[in-house]
Each structure stands twice: as C-alpha cells, then as structure tokens.
C-alpha cells in the first residue's frame, strides 16, 4: 500500500529552480533511499515533506488523503518525523528529557513533572531497539555518536509512520551503524516506512528496497535496488549532459604561479601538493566536507595550515590572515555568499571595493572617492552586473548578480591567483555561463585559477587539470577530457577500482 505519494512537485526560490516536477512514492514498511549529489534537490524535497516551506507547484498525498503540512510540528502530528544531519539536542538536559522534549507533560504525577517516569519510558524505548545509553545521563557528557543515537530515538518515539533520516550514519562508529541497521529493520517490520538519504552508496544497497535518484532538481529514476548495479546507480547520479555548455577555451600556459607543497592541517587535510600555472584552471572535485574549502582557506589565510609551503611566482609566502593573502596576490571568492560574502547593509559599490579600498587611500586614510567610483563603474560594466547603479543596495540584486559583485570584489585586487569556491552555487543558468566566461577571460590575462565545485560536469568542463579530494587528501589527478564522470564520482565516494566504468 502506498503511504506517501509526491506528484509533480516543483519549488522555485526567486529565479532559481530547486525542484522541477518531482514525483515518487513510498510504500508502507519499505526503506526508500534518496541518492544524488549535493544540491541535487534532496534536502529541498525533505523540507517540503516536513512543511518547512510549501511547494511552488504540485501536490502530495499521505494515506490517500491530500497532505499539505503547514510547519514541521504539523508534519509531526500527521506522522512524519525526521532525524536531522545536525544535532538538535539540548546539552544541559538529560537523555530522557531530550528524547521526550516538548512532550514531558505526559509524565506528570500529582501535578508535577516526574523525571523517573520519563526515564522509565526512555529505558523501555531503548530496550526495544537495543540502544545502550543511560537515560539519566546529561547529553553534554555523551559522545557524538551517542548523541546521534538519542536523536534517532527521539524520531522513533513519535510513533510516526514515516521516519526521514538525513545521513544518519555520518557521525556513527561501525558498532552503532549496526544498531541503526537493526533499528531500521525493526521499524519496517512494524510497517513503518523510512526515507533514507545517504552519500554512502553501499548503504543504499545494504538497506533500501527502492531508490530515488535526484539530479539538478529533477527526479531521474525510481526503481528497485534488486537488480541495480553500482555502476548503473552512479550513472544515474552523475548523469550525462547534452552538448557542451562549458565554453572552455584553450589558453597558453605560462610559468608556475601557485605552488603548494606538503600542506597539512591536523584532522582536516594532509599532504596536499599541487601547482597552478599562469592561464591555467585547476579544478577540485569532492564531496562537501572532504576538505576542499579548508585547503583553499589555508592557502588564502583564513585558517592557517599547521605546516607546509606555499609559493607565489617562486617566492615562499606565509598567509596568516586574508590581508596577507591579498597582499601576496591571492584573492578568494568564498562559497558561503551570505555568511562570508555580501554585507547586506552596504550598497553595490562598497561591497565591490571591500577587499580593495584600502589600496586607494592616501596617507591620512582618506578613500579616493573619484577612483573608487570610476573603478566600480568600470567593473560593473566589465562583468555586466545588472543593477540600478553602483549606489543600489546589494539586496536589490538577484543572487547571480550578487555573485558577480563578489567576483568583482576579488578581481579588483588584481590577483595573480584567483580561488573560486562554488562560484555558481545558487546562480541561474544565464549568470552561470557569464561566470564561466570570466574564468576564461582571467585565464587569458595570465591569472592562475583554482576552481572548487560540487557540480561535477562544471568542474570537469572548465578545468585544465582536475584533482579529486576525499577525506582531506588528493586521491586522483586528471587532465581535461581524460576521464569520465563515473570514475570521478567513484573516486569521490571512495569506491574500489573494480567498480569503475571503463
């Protein structure tokens, strides 16, 4: 029996289409895996199911009745609970109170809250599912894995018909993963259904009955895991793009500009070695959290590495702060535009010149207004930023044009090395291709470019050389057009060589 049906659901954020016409269904008592790259639309779909925001188009049915959750607690009361990727526990409260958070009023005796009743109920729940944690313990004394188990126990305790699990095993050790697998099997035997998101494809094969694959906001396929091979699944996830939307131009390469030797940061990345020549675009592929961003932050000076050597044009440099990185000729467009990029209250001009205005100050610290205005207008023209003018507030621009301002901010410093971290995230197709054009333009001017992207076809289509990062190490190096998306995907996920598509 179908417990959940999703029909033609679409979701737009402003001009960005996050989901287009997604349909799938969930049977009673099955484990349905959701697979796809970062940004493929899985999280958006889950947020719609939970009622965090409504779909722009389409409908959903729960038990055959129309399902329109207003907010997460409404979804919860209708029988859908979720285990979040991030831990959402109150550290100062006990395990039991965290499990029953918001519902402790069912444990009253003589009009007062009775913590013993609450802990008894928790123990009973833990016994049923073989969880070995003391309900009386304070959550702040638990290990991350134990906290994740508490989170799982909480989601189960709602007796919901559907439990959504967003990468539940990422924080668990092998032993606890086994317990989780047991819990999942027990839940399905109670006729409850599981929606399981995971980047570990082995888990999909181990646990799921069926799998839905997302790519670029589209539902690619829903099918039985039985009879599906790992290669087929990777094919679905990576996909094949039609035509070449990446206007890669052949640029003459110059001398080595950026050279990185033995860069280490304990527990984050190790033994990173690579070089970038003038006019060259070197791409970095890898899953979110593999350490790509952290390596570049180390080179630019946001978080200094523990050891290693960075040289620019043959000269060894040490970047202990972004200012030093800028002074040594490195500029970085950071991945998180909201947190590390735009300053909401500033206008376009001040945002654009933020990394550069100190260079056009006189000895007394006065900014040369004429030069700032002229340079800003010049850059707005060069990058064809769509804005009402340099004095327009930054928030009046679309995401793509805000991103252009961020790129303009980096270009104004006239860098020798330009690091672009997810430069096209949350950007519409038109602005995307313009950003690729800037890459080519800068390469032609002899800038060494480092491109990080979770969009595999993009990073493959734009890079002269491509490094694959997994768990803080460079695990493979390729040159342009030499390798298939499937192989890179396998390297990103860390699958064995025999799974490669030749």
């Amino acid at each position: 029996m179908k417990i959940l049906e999703v029909n033609d659901v679409s979701k737009n954020f402003y001009s960005t289409q996050a989901l287009s016409n997604v349909s799938f269904d969930l049977e009673e008592g099955e484990v349905l895996a959701l697979a796809g790259e970062n940004g493929a639309g899985k999280s958006t779909m889950m947020n719609i199911l939970l009622g965090s925001f409504p779909p722009s188009k389409g409908s959903m049915k729960l038990n055959g009745a129309p399902y329109e959750p207003k907010n997460p607690s409404d979804a919860l009361s209708k029988g859908i609970s979720m285990i979040h990727q991030e831990l959402c526990l109150v550290p100062s409260m006990s395990v039991a109170e965290n499990v029953w958070i918001g519902r402790v009023n069912q444990f009253m005796s003589h009009g007062l809250y009775d913590y013993r009743k609450c802990e008894e109920a928790t123990q009973k729940l833990f016994d049923t599912y073989n969880i070995n944690i003391n309900p009386h313990e304070n959550v702040k004394n638990l290990s991350t894995a134990q906290m994740q188990m508490v989170e799982i126990a909480r989601a189960i305790s709602y007796d919901s018909k559907i439990v959504i699990m967003d990468e539940p095993t990422s924080a668990l050790s092998d032993k606890e993963v086994k317990v989780l697998y047991q819990i999942i099997r027990q839940l399905t035997s109670e006729n409850r259904s599981i929606l399981f998101i995971s980047h570990k494809l082995e888990e999909v094969f181990e646990l799921a009955n069926r799998v839905v694959v997302f790519r670029d906001g589209h539902m690619i396929v829903q099918r039985d895991v039985n009879g599906l091979s790992m290669n087929e699944l990777i094919n679905y996830i990576a996909g094949r793009k039609v035509g070449n939307i990446y206007p890669k131009e052949d640029v003459e390469k110059g001398e080595v500009v950026l050279s990185v030797k033995n860069l280490n940061k304990q527990g984050v990345y190790e033994d990173i070695n690579f070089e970038v020549r003038a006019g060259e675009i070197v791409g970095f592929a890898g899953l979110v959290g593999a350490g790509r961003t952290e390596i570049m932050q180390g080179i630019y000076g946001i978080v200094a590495p523990d050891s290693g050597e960075i040289s620019i044009n043959g000269k060894v440099v040490r970047n202990r702060s972004p200012r030093e990185g800028l002074n040594n000729g490195i500029a970085m467009v950071t991945e998180d535009r909201l947190r590390q990029g735009v300053i909401k209250k500033m206008n376009v001009e001040k945002n654009m010149t933020l990394a550069y205005f100190y260079k056009i100050c006189n000895k007394l610290g006065f900014i040369s207004q004429g030069k700032e205005d002229a340079d800003t207008e010049d850059m707005i023209k060069r990058l064809s930023v769509k804005t009402a003018g340099k004095d327009a507030p930054i928030w009046s621009l679309s995401g793509g044009n805000q991103q252009k301002v961020m790129i303009g901010r980096a270009l104004m410093t006239q860098p020798k090395v330009l690091i672009l971290d997810e430069p096209t995230r949350g950007v519409d197709v038109g602005a995307k291709s313009e950003i690729y054009d800037y890459c080519n333009m800068m390469a032609k001017q002899g800038v060494a470019i480092v491109l990080i992207s979770s969009d595999l076809p993009e990073v493959m289509g734009m890079s002269d050389r491509l490094n694959v990062i997994r768990e803080g190490k460079i695990v493979a190096r390729h040159t342009y057009n030499e390798v298939s998306a499937e192989q890179i995907m396998a390297e990103m996920f860390g699958l064995k060589g025999d799974n490669h598509v030749s």
Binding site: I302, L326, V342, L364, G365
Partner: protein, 329 residues
C-alpha cells in the same frame, strides 16, 4: 498593468523609509514647533543657549558611540568611566599639575580603559554587553575609592573653561561639540577606518575574509570612544564646576537613546554622526521642554524611557520594512 499597484506600494514603502531615516530631524522639528507654540520662553536666546550647552557633552561622546554602535558593539560602562575620569581630573586639580597635563592624563585613561574593554571582548570572545556590565561596576567602585564617595569642587580653571567658557557669543563646549561632529562625520564617511567600522558591524566574517582586521578595528573604535568619553568628562564637570560621582547610569541611557534615535541601528552596519547630533537634540528637547512646561522630573524620566523604547521599536520596525522590500525582489 499589474505592475502599477505594486509600484505604488513600493513608493509608499520608500516614503516610510525616508521618514524613518530622517526621524530625528523630523522629531526635532515637531518638538520645536510644539514648544514655541505652547511656551513663551522656549524661543529666547537664553533658553536656546542653555539647551545647546546641555546637549554638548552628549554630542561629543555621541560621536564615539556612533562608531561603536555602527561596529555592532555596545558599552554600558561609558557613564561610570566618564565619572571616574571626572574624579581623576578633580583630584589632579588639587595638585600643581597644569591643565594640559590633566587633559592628557584624562585622555590616556579614557583610551586605555575603553581599549581594555574591547581587548577583553576580543581575547575571550565575550559579548560587549557582559564585559562592559562588569567593567561598569569596576569603574564605579574605583571612582568611589578615589573620591571617598563625595564630589570634588575647586576644579582647574581650564576644566571650568571647557564647561563654561565662551568664544564670542557661543559657548566653548558647543563649539567643541560641533568640531567633534564635523570631524567625526568626515572620518565616518570618507576614510578607510570608517569603512572598516561599517564592514565589521555589517558582517564581521565577510570583512575578515576581505582582508579587514576585525579585532584591530574594534580596539580602534573603543579607543576613539575612550577619547570622546574623556573630553566629555571634562566638559560636564566644568559645567557644574564640580566632579560628580553619581551621573554614570543615566548618561549611558541618554547616549544610546540619542544615537539610536539619530539613525544608527543597534545591530550595526551603518551609522550617521550628524543624525546623532539630532538624536542628542531630541533628548535635550525632552528635558528642556518638560522643564519649561513645569513637568516633574520624575515624569521626565518616564517620558525619556518611553522615547527610548519607541526608538528601539522603530529601529527594528525599519529593519522589517527593509526586509519586506528585499523579499519583493
């Protein structure tokens, strides 16, 4: 066709934003109008000069405080720091130390104490609210220890001139305030330092990644504030010719109110030094007007509190209007 009503709504928002941005100026206009209608004494030369002298001390520290709020910080200890510096100047007046040295020592004490606040906030990553709340008690205790709890009369003549002197028909303190406002305005809007301040207040992470030294900027802002606190201490002690011990609490409230009413938001990221002048005028007009109308000073406290509350609500409210405009995009 359908775009038309939306345009109309946009312009309605824009009118609202114009009023909100110039709220201090409009409030001053309204108060002046009302007071000249309902009292006969308001528009006399004597009253206007005494009003200007009343606000001059707040106007001076308001410059430093505008930078502070714009950098998304706050300082609750400013009032007692001012009192403490006043007492120090009073003690120095009893010795043979000359006025320039007194001035120098007071400025150094102000700069060091205020930078100390920012340094602790940076080092231990603490909210300014907590650090300055504690420091306020420390300054208060220190000033009581220094003065034995009683005000100090017989101040140096230089200090008295700062509070009571005249240049032609205009009080020296008012001239000093105008100089501070003008220089402050230029620094805020035209220099690298001013730009660093609003960048740090607007989004410290983005500022840091763009090469701005966030910690250093915060200490510089605090040092500037400390300097204005020291000058303000001398002006306000000079005005009454006594170093007072008990003005600390009220002063901070008045200044925060003046800066926020003037148009510098509590959350930082923007600011206006000239607006702060009008904010000080609003606060001054409330006291002055209610005095002229012979309203009890207790009612003055209540009404000041109400005005501050309204100012903060308007501050949040204008953010919401901005958000609404943003979401329309």
């Amino acid at each position: 066709m359908s775009a038309k009503p939306e345009n109309k709504k946009m312009s309605k928002d824009q009118i609202l934003i114009f009023f909100l941005q110039n709220r201090a100026f409009l409030l001053v206009l309204i108060f002046v109008l009302l007071l000249s209608l309902f009292t006969s004494t308001f528009l006399t030369k004597g009253n206007l000069i005494s009003l200007a002298r009343q606000i001059s001390a707040n106007g001076i520290i308001g410059v430093g405080y505008t930078f502070l709020l714009a950098s998304n910080s706050v300082d609750l200890s400013a009032g007692y720091m001012m009192c403490m510096i006043g007492i120090i100047s009073g003690l120095l007046s009893q010795t043979t130390v000359s006025f320039p040295i007194i001035l120098l020592i007071c400025c150094i004490v102000g700069i060091i104490c205020s930078s100390w606040n920012a340094t602790i906030e940076n080092k231990f990553n603490l909210p300014p609210f907590l650090v300055t709340l504690a420091m306020q008690q420390i300054f208060r205790g220190t000033l009581m220890l220094l003065s034995n709890g009683s005000p100090i009369p017989n101040l140096d003549e230089g200090i008295i001139y700062m509070g009571q002197g005249y240049i032609g028909p205009i009080p020296f303190s008012v001239m000093l305030m105008l100089v501070f406002i003008i220089i402050g305005h230029i620094i805020f809007s035209r220099t690298q330092f001013g730009r660093n301040v609003i960048a740090v207040g607007g989004n410290p992470e983005a500022a840091r990644v763009s090469g701005i030294n966030v910690e250093k900027t915060r200490v510089q802002v605090a040092a500037l504030l400390g300097f204005t606190i020291a000058i303000m201490a001398l002006v306000s002690c000079g005005r009454v010719a006594t170093a007072q011990t008990n003005l600390g609490g009220e002063t901070v409230m008045d200044i925060i109110a003046a800066v926020v009413i003037g148009g510098t938001p509590m959350g930082g990221g923007s600011g206006t030094v000239v607006g702060t002048l009008f904010g000080c005028l609003v606060i001054g007009l409330i006291s002055n007007g209610l005095n002229l109308l012979k309203v009890s000073s207790y009612w003055q406290m209540v009404s000041k509190g109400v005005i501050i509350l309204v100012a903060v609500i308007v501050d949040v409210f204008s953010e919401r209007i901005y958000d609404r405009m943003r979401n329309k995009e």
